[in-house]
Symmetry: C2
Subunit: 189 residues, 2 copies
Amino acid sequence: MENKLDKLNIVGIAGSLRKGSYNRMLLEAAKEIATDSMTIEEFDLSGIPMYNTDVEKSAVPEIVTEFKEKIRAADGLLISTPEYNYSVPGVLKNAIDWASRMPKDTPLHQKPVAMMGGSGGISGTIRAQGHLRQILAHSNMLDLKKPEVLVTKIQEKFDGNGVLTDDALKQHLIRFLAAFENWIRIFKK
Amino acid sequence: MENKLDKLNIVGIAGSLRKGSYNRMLLEAAKEIATDSMTIEEFDLSGIPMYNTDVEKSAVPEIVTEFKEKIRAADGLLISTPEYNYSVPGVLKNAIDWASRMPKDTPLHQKPVAMMGGSGGISGTIRAQGHLRQILAHSNMLDLKKPEVLVTKIQEKFDGNGVLTDDALKQHLIRFLAAFENWIRIFKK
């Protein structure tokens, strides 16, 4: 039987590779907020090579195997992503492409997932998240629908040290992570 | 004044990196068919690294600069892509992410573009092409709407040497490329 007090184990990924990424700050903020209910461990996508079926068939890169096993062992996946060209970054899509292979082996199948994103303007990554939900549906992932985390003017929400200073966003993340926890526990019963 | 008989210069890209890619065969078939009206030169995406703003700010990779300049000098872009996870491959999206930078410098702005794709089953990359049109809209690219090239059971359309053997598809590609040529010449006038 599932012990309701067990902490959940979440893999977190950021869709941007740059060091000062606001979406990584958002993931860090979620990690801090979630400490009582879940442990969020970030997996850095920067070492994942371009997906190539020939490479996959000869030898799956070690980092890809590690990425897939981390997700397999986790209770859920948390994605924090910027929006590039009205969609998800190629970097994030490429990591999903690797993880989605093969149909009988993918750790994405029926894995709970939640998404967040922030932009410098007013879109809040709304188009990217629309695409992302469609992409994740291919692997039958269980995506938390609400509340959505669509952060506008994200650069105004953090201080120079990358610490979340916007209280409304902090309260929203608390509600979001509580909803994600409840969502995951439905499927763990 | 534009000479109507000048051959058009097209950059072709395939969204799959594997050697035996059917979508590269499709691009090759288009190249053969188009000889009278346009020259299609393939640009291989396999050397393009993951997009990273930090890398871009310190030094844009040479291959990215080359990719952007090839597109800038071309009359149009022809994309042949498989569908991964109901969307475009991360490999293709990543190349577009690089090429779309920066707003005042991107060669994608108002560049004519046409897309093709094939799948092993019945989808014919229909979802991927839907996403791709939305992605290209960010750079205000001029996408040919019809005819669409959505190839089902693509493995049955080529022989063991990668040569297009399906006459219906060949005739369709002839119409498609003629429409692409007309589309490009509208904007060259």
